[in-house]
Symmetry: C2
Subunit: 550 residues, 2 copies
């Protein structure tokens, strides 16, 4: 352990291949590896489950994400020479030098990883990943696997909740980069919000890396950087069909004279700098004019200026796209804006004016959207940042990684809190569906038990509470676990991000609405087979210390 | 804008030099740059302030962090050929191709960056950074600068708050990697928690990169992976002085017979697997034996097993380090543990036994520490994860980046919320101190005003509210802003992380305790000079729209 001098190494979490480094782990994984190695337990056959105990955001579902990154970690998992040199300084001097040679040769080739497919709806206690292989290696994988699954699943779930709140037809854009927890937090947010149901991002690097549609127009600074119309240096715009060329500023000023009687504003109250900024933006993006209208005063200045420029564009054959509101009473303002758009559409016989995009983007969270839905609004696009990407409502998903079997012996971790008792042994996970395609219950079984059969009665039991049990006759049964990584290779096709997004949507559609609602949702049941129930309780008894009742 | 197909590019936020890429920005920065370029405003002389409006965590102070990363961004800021190729696909087809040539040649060479030194205590409205230069370039820097300052400052502040809660002599370890918001979120957390006053981290990569002391022992899985004493394959330990070699298991079993009468436990109630795990760990780390004692039962099993192994180690000349509690009533358990340690120390005349480390690490947040302080406890080390690194109490610091001057004209951004009105123009920031070294008030002045003088009366005014003003006679005056980046170079020495940590500590020590307390802290005053006050209100009046009162 050295004092805090920077070593002038590059400050990247990823290796040259862009994948998380093996050293991004907790020191205790290394110290445990050493203790295992010292007692020749490092190759003990271990099985670990990665799961969470509680759905986030007071909800009753979670979207599983991060699997592709986990598989990339498996592929590249090794300690470089410089890692091992560093570890020699971090470990006690008494450490056997042969251990570092062992570390240098570690890889994930003898590890097997089975997991729920990425994008699937999951629930507490379900092993999202089951990782088996040499004890020391699997233990070393714990921290990076948890890191990669925890935030990915959390933010994908958050995005899915915003999607449910906003409904299927509202455009949802992720604008969170500036408030994300670090650069990579921003990049992960963009990726997994898209997976969870968003339509695009402002994050350009995410667009380049993952092919996510990127969106954005301008900020308040753009508006305030224009003082008056003299700031518009190039004023000419060629019409869409190329037939005419106009002084666009003059054209706008013409409409500024016409419009006050139509949409009721005073030309001497509009801000000239704002008009100059809108004109400049329209000259740069005649086909993509979307204006931020709340810099000064939405109703007196922003909206009239927008309509002015939109009409001038229209005269030259271009159709404006819409407006963005970034402050104020979004319900009220959106309705006022919509009203003026309807007036404009009718007065000038331009039906598209009625359907212009109204973007809202002021510190919006899931509850804001529910509240706007109740108040009424005409917003058809949300730009969502801080609350989405930092998951303000609950900024961490508490995934854990627990040993469930060692050298074919099932292990149970007891706890005074019965909800924290682990479900021992290597398991299979099934989802049972009703005749209408609705997911009824998830069922954990010991890996050796035969799969539940369609049309046959299955006893589903609560893992701990004896009285909670029910017979289910499934119309369909899906085995949730797939083996993705075996013998040093990814052995299954990895879906594209777009395919993952589709899977999320489809998987959510199999869930009953009452499990998905924001207020007091019904818990989805995760059960164990009768045999597994018995086995849990036998092991529990075995592990109980001898002595008086506690 | 393309559909969401992965492009199979490397998924790293950093370039090959490990620094954040220029493309990690919002698309609207690119669209604004194009609109500026189109109207030949791209080189307008602009000044932007980066600041926040409210201290996080219901507190009254913030630690500024992230500056070194900002300066690295300045150094490497450019768009690669592949970035520009991507941007051609993301921008409308109508975009003038000459713009992309302009983009390719962009750098931060004409940008000047002044900032508060990293690690300094800061307050709302103070410009943390002032960035001046060509409008389009400074605008492009906005998103990555905000991203780099926001989380760094937030988590450093959180760490400082934990330090204040725990007091100066408790060891604080950051254990958050697995719950952090992405891999880089974890790395940033380790770095800035150390800056904010933590003593070490579990994050090995952070240890390698930043020289932060790394700490860690073992997890519950280590304990449960041992079933009985047969699992201890190598039983021999050589004494510290090399004079004898013992069967360490037998030695432990000898003490297991001796201790029950001393610290009151039943040998048939201790878990044999746990003892096996402790013995194996002690064999691997005879000098560093710190045991997690809550896997089964702290009082009946974990603590007796620890004392057993510690005594066997002692016989061979090794001193155990202590125990970790990861569940249960930490106040009560720590006191029980301490009591037994005192008994052991007295009985065996081993004074160090009384002072063994007692680590607590179960989901601890700032309030838990305050509550433990009230209840009484004997914990002398905390391992803190989720709440620290995700900043659960408030997961985002709302830094903003506002245009305050364009072509030497001051700009003001009005808002219906007066707290959101920007302070216009290029400013200087002074901190005025009392005779005892306590910070009295921060003062913003127009850059052209002379600095306040020691021993001379200075009128400090609230920027908005006329009635709030006071005369201050400073015993010392510090100019808070330093120019770090100019003409394409970092022109000031950058402190090491250890130096930044010291600065944080020192800067916090100049702050009155009532500003730092957890409950109802007193706000620290940030004021403006009389001239700046007048100027703000003149500009405000100018920008007011003509019309009826609103």
């Amino acid at each position: 352990m050295k004092e805090g001098e920077p070593l002038h190494l590059k400050t990247s979490v990823t290796g040259s291949n862009g994948v998380v480094q093996a050293l991004l782990t907790d020191l205790y994984q290394i110290t445990m590896a050493y203790a295992y190695w010292k007692s020749e337990k490092m190759n003990d056959a271990s099985v670990f489950d990665l799961y969470f105990r509680k759905n986030p955001f007071s909800g009753e579902f979670t979207i599983f994400a991060g699997l592709e990154e986990c598989l990339k970690l498996m592929q590249s998992f090794h300690f470089s020479d410089s890692d091992v040199e560093y570890l020699k300084t971090a470990m006690p001097q008494t450490t056997d030098p042969a251990f570092f040679i062992y570390l240098k040769n570690i890889s994930a080739r003898d590890v097997t990883l089975t997991a729920v497919p990425e994008g699937e709806v999951v629930f507490p206690k379900i092993p999202l990943l089951t990782v088996s292989g040499p004890l020391a290696v699997v233990q070393l994988l714990e921290t990076p696997l948890l890191n990669l699954v925890n935030y990915a699943s959390l933010v994908a779930t958050n995005a899915a909740r915003f999607r449910i709140a906003a409904g299927p037809n509202t455009v949802l854009l992720e604008f969170g980069l500036r408030r994300a927890q670090g650069p990579d937090g921003g990049l992960s947010a963009s990726r997994y919000c898209y997976l969870g149901g968003f339509d695009g991002t402002s994050n350009v690097l995410a667009g380049k890396m993952f092919g996510i549609p990127v969106r954005g127009t301008h900020a308040h600074a753009f508006i305030t950087s224009f003082i008056n119309l003299q700031d518009v240096k190039f004023r000419t715009l060629v019409s869409a069909d190329g037939s005419r060329e106009e002084d666009f500023v003059s054209l706008c000023l013409k409409y500024q004279q016409q419009l006050p009687s139509v949409i009721d504003f005073l030309p001497d109250q509009v801000m000239e700098g704002e008009l100059a900024a809108f004109i400049s933006f329209a000259l740069a993006f005649p086909d993509g004019f979307l204006a931020l209208i709340d810099t000064y005063d939405v109703i007196r200045s922003g909206l009239p200026n927008f309509c002015t420029v939109a009409m001038a564009l229209n005269e030259l054959g271009y159709q404006a796209q819409g407006i963005r509101l970034d402050s104020g009473d979004l319900s009220y303002l959106s309705k006022v804006v919509k009203g003026k758009f309807i007036t404009m559409a009718a007065k000038f016989d331009l039906p598209w004016f009625e359907n212009l995009t109204i973007v809202a983007s002021n510190d919006i969270n899931e509850d804001t959207i529910h509240s706007l839905n109740q108040q009424g609004h005409t917003i058809n696009c949300y730009g969502i940042g801080t609350h989405l990407v930092t998951c303000q409502k609950q900024p961490a998903l508490g995934c854990v990684f627990k040993l469930v079997e060692i050298n074919t012996k099932a292990r149970i971790k007891l706890s005074e809190d019965v909800e924290k008792v682990t479900i021992p042994g290597r398991k299979k996970v099934y989802r049972l569906y009703g005749a209408d395609g609705t997911a009824l219950v998830d069922l954990l079984q010991d890996a050796s038990e035969p799969a539940p059969q369609v049309g046959q009665r299955v006893l589903c039991r609560h893992p701990i509470q004896e009285s909670k049990r029910a017979y289910v006759i499934p119309a369909a049964v899906k085995s949730l676990h797939i083996t993705w990584w075996k013998q040093g290779k990814v052995i299954e096709h990895l879906p594209t991000l777009t395919e993952l997004r589709e899977r999320t949507k489809k998987s959510l559609s199999t869930l009953r609405p009452d499990h998905k609602r924001a207020l007091n949702p019904t818990p989805y049941k995760v059960s164990v087979s009768s045999d597994l129930y018995t086995y849990i309780h036998e092991l529990w008894l075995e592990s109980a210390p001898i002595g008086e009742l506690s």
